[in-house]
């Protein structure tokens, strides 16, 4: 499983970084950067939470 971020849709709220800073970061402009290629099993819940909390629906989990 992977988590995908649409950097054009991102509004730089930073909620994903707050939720899971091992999966997400912000670049200098505040835009989301995904830190992992494959989602670690034990981070799946965090990733789902981040997807849910993103105010601009910029994140999604893909199989």
């Amino acid at each position: 499983m992977k988590v995908e971020a649409d950097r054009d849709v991102c509004i730089q709220a930073g909620n994903c970084v707050m939720t899971a800073d091992s999966l997400f970061d912000q670049d200098d402009d505040g835009i989301v950067v995904v830190l992992v290629d494959e989602l670690p099993e034990d981070e799946l819940d965090h990733a789902r939470e981040a997807v849910k909390l993103c105010p601009s629906q910029a994140l999604r989990i893909i199989d």
Binding site: I11, Q12, A13, G14, V17, M18, T19, Q26, D28, D29, G30, I31, E49, K52, L53, P55, S56, Q57
Partner: protein
Amino acid sequence: MTEAPAVPLHMRRDAFSPVAELREIRETEGVRTVTNAFGMQVHLITRHEDIKNVLSDHERFSNGRPPGFVLPGAPEVSEEELASSRAGNLLGLDPPEHSRLRRMLTPEFTIRRMKRLEPRIAEIVDMQLDAMEIAGPPADLVDNFALPIPSLVICELLGVPYDDRQDFQKRSARQLDLSLPIPERLELQRQGRVYMTSLVQRARQRPGEDILGMLIREHGDELTDDELIGVASLLLLAGHETTSNMLGLGTLALLRHPEQLAAVRDDPDAVGPAVEELLRWLSIVQTAIPRITTTDVEIAGVKIPAGKLVFASLPSGNRDPDFIDSPELLDIRRGAAGHLGFGHGVHHCLGAPLARMEMRIAFPALLRRFPNLALAEAFGDVQFRSFHFIYGLKSLEVSW
């Protein structure tokens, strides 16, 4: 003489809580036509899920205003003047114009940037607490703590002289006071822009190490003066009116829940979740910026035609049992992720990381400095500020 207008339903509260009628709407039809502060009929939405859907759909629910849209009683102005007064106000724009301006500002509000600001914010908080301690009890917590901290922070960040605070604080508070006649509020807005014009002109000549200076150095050619004035006016107003009310009302909420107050004071791990829960439970922004439907829509089975105003009640959405269990209870341990206190969608609060940082520093610092902090007036005498875009306190007498 005209009578003072009644506080609209969606702004009425019983101390911290929205009135029961708002809950009743949420539990029955979900959407109801109500009268806003200006006597206009608007569609009030009350459920967490509906609010999220509306706020994340900027195509059908627009922050812009169609040509010819005027507030009742607003003086006639030329299209040119109207455009100039709206320029740079991110909350009045839809994508792509909105995204263009927001992206210029977000580098200043990243979580990493906030961490760098942390020591300076802590210093400002300590300075205010020192002054309060020296002056001695009793003190008005709003005047001595809740208002000066975010004001000082946004002044430094933005590049606004703190010495000008009395004027701009008074102007912002009145501008957001919805009981005042529209012409008076528009005049205050105009005065605010005149003030900001002088700061923008000065910064154009000598850009400083602040947000105004950064915008001019990095985007000076792409931004008109009107846009700079609009952006800076919004940041100044939003930067101090919001967090100050959270600090004032949040302290009162903790004083009314002594065990939770003790946790915020004594347990550093409790602070972050407590701030989120206070944001949810207090929901100081009464409604999201009103949206206008750009097409016929349906919310919770209710049909709303194009061109209608939609008000999203954030306090109601945040107390929706479909969102969170026992929503009427303040429970700082739960964290309340997913609350709508900062809104949702593309207009989600730009300054959220700053507001969070200010609160995470200020609440525990206040409670540690004054472990015996107490109300110095009867709870029933506390003056809440209801008829206002942002809910809060007029003052809060405390002792220690």
